[in-house]
């Protein structure tokens, strides 16, 4: 059984009367990439900041590598934080930024320069040693921030929405790099994001949070294939929520079938009739939105088809169509919390 790098036990954070994080329990395994996913205000950033030590814990415990760190100073926890807007020292150049922690520890000039340069080479920023942060692009700043965070040799790297300030193209590239760094360094990354794409792409473990509570925690595949409740299914996207005799179920949009010109008889109860209200061409796939009743939001379903199967029997907006799914693709959801 793999050892746990981080363990949260009944972790709670209150701001005055409101509770931002409600007694969460979480275990993050060694050298894994963990994504805390959720809408804004769900408590994911607060959780991360509590792990980092930048937010005081109201109740509960934080263990890092089995060691109680709840009341320890941030620098003594073995964690390092990479901030959303990077938090680089504006008055220091790249090398000085990365060497900052060494300087604070009183490491000599030559030694600190050597170690800083190593890290800077790791993030391939050696050409910018003497630039100030404002002279760098967003992506470059992020690399510097990463090198600086690594300078304290942390066993846990905490990343607070690290990609949100980048443009979409760069975001995907940096995401790959983050994953590579995590693998190569062999340390745990805890990455806070509100983007399910990012979480699914990066996370060995994806933790979905809502209202200060963990709704589901598991591998990316588990979370996507088997969302444990309606919230997760909706937030993670790509799912249809359907009410059946057995209860509320979710079915992946790409596991649905579209029937132009009436339902086949074998569909049985696992089928619905409706009208095409939207068509979205997405290159390799076509997204068809079908509505049973235009007045009801829950009566909208999405079917994702490969272009080949869609164009074999194309539908147009306004067409009366049928949709169906198979029992094997049905996933029963737990009732959503009030």
């Amino acid at each position: 059984m793999p050892t746990k790098d981080v363990e949260l036990i009944g972790l709670t954070k209150r701001f005055g009367d409101s509770v931002a994080v409600k007694a969460i329990d979480l275990q993050i395994y060694e050298a894994s990439y963990c994504c805390l996913l959720g809408p804004s205000g769900c408590g994911k950033s607060t959780t991360l900041r509590m792990i980092a030590g930048h937010e005081e814990v109201s109740e509960g415990d934080i263990l890092v590598k089995g060691r109680q760190v709840t009341w320890q100073q941030p620098s003594k926890r073995g964690t390092a934080m990479m901030f959303q807007n990077y938090g680089l020292f504006p008055h220091l150049n790249v090398e000085e930024n990365v060497a900052f922690s060494l300087r604070m520890q009183g490491v000599g000039k030559a030694e600190r320069s050597r170690r800083a340069r190593e890290l800077i080479e790791l993030v391939e920023m050696q050409a910018y040693l003497h630039r100030r942060p404002h002279e760098l692009s967003g992506g470059q700043q992020q690399r510097v921030a990463l090198a600086r965070a690594l300078s304290t040799e942390p066993s846990i790297l905490l990343l607070d929405e690290p990609l949100s300030a980048l443009d979409p193209f760069l975001r995907i590239r940096m995401r790959e790099e983050l994953k590579r760094f995590q693998r190569e360094l062999g340390i745990t990354f805890i990455h806070v994001t509100h983007s399910q794409d990012e979480a699914l792409a990066l996370g060995d473990q994806v933790v979905v949070m809502q209202d200060g509570e963990i709704r589901q925690s598991g591998t990316a595949r588990e979370v996507y294939d088997t969302p444990s409740n309606e919230f997760v299914a909706r937030f993670i996207g790509g799912h249809n929520i359907l009410k059946t005799e057995t209860g509320t179920v979710s079915v992946r949009a790409d596991h649905m079938d579209l029937h132009v010109g009436g339902l086949p008889s074998e569909a049985g109860a696992r089928a619905r009739l409706g009208q095409v209200v939207a068509l979205e061409y997405q290159g390799s796939r076509i997204r068809v939105t079908v509505s049973e009743n235009p007045d009801q939001d829950e009566a909208r379903h999405v079917v994702e088809l490969s272009d080949r199967s869609f164009y074999a029997a194309p539908a147009n907006p306004g067409d009366a169509v049928g949709i169906s799914w198979s029992a094997a693709d049905e996933h029963l959801l737990a009732p959503t919390h009030a």
Binding site: A52, G53, H54, Q73, P74, S75, T79, A80, M81, F83, Q84, N85, Y86, G87, L88, F89, P90, H91, F100, S101, R103, M104, Q105, R148, A149, S151, T152
Partner: protein, 291 residues
Amino acid sequence: MQPQAPKRPLFERLLPYMQIAPLALLLCFFLLIPLVMIVTVSFWNYNGFQVVPDIVLFNYTEMLGSATIWRTLFSTILFTLTTLAVTAALGFAIAYHIAFYVRTPLMRTVLFMACTIPFLTSNIIRMISWVPFLGRQGLINSMLMDIGLIDQPLDFLLYSRFAICLVYVYLFTLFMVTPLYNAMSRIDRSVIEAAIDAGATPVQIMFWVVLPLCKTGFAIGAVFVITVVMGDFVTVRIMGGGHSATTGYLILNQISLLQYPAACANAVMLLVVVMSAIGGLLRGVDIRKAL
């Protein structure tokens, strides 16, 4: 032949000039004209009660050759540097406290008000109210004598360089607090947290992160302090008891003795000194970042 481009209407061509006119006029009337007058009069001649238009250099030669003038200028610069150092240290401490230790915005407002409220009364009143405090029979001396720490009153407390600097600091620390607070509140919290992560102690954070990031704040505060202290003549008169002088005080005396040209020459010198001090300061620090 190319057809000539149609001329833009007159109004349109004049518009940019009209837009800068108010500022230009203001600067012209309240800055340029008085300055030209001062420089002009500094070359005039004078006797006891009359100022005679002329072009003479002796206002300058007399000034530059006078040990009194140099000593006074030196004393003025010393006052300025002392005040700068103390107000910067004090202003930094106050701003640091308000920016980083006071959590609620309400409390911050309250503390700021507490700093500014005394400024609603006259400078001179606030200055003079120090006199009964510092005097030979003042509160401090009688207290120290009552508890037996001293048996003779301390004369240096009033009518001394100490008293002058004390009041400068008292009057002008706010000029430092405000821009420093402004600079500090612009520091991204994550920068501070990054320093904490890096294992910096609070003292290290103050010296290695906050202090360098307050450079523009110091520069703006220094511009204010330099300008008011170098130009002061009231504080030095009231708190100095005639034991010290500044160039401004010298100019005041010259004006009261109708030696306008000499006063103007002194004013020109003071202007040059202040301008070069501020110019030097702004070469080193780009204050536009803070504006």
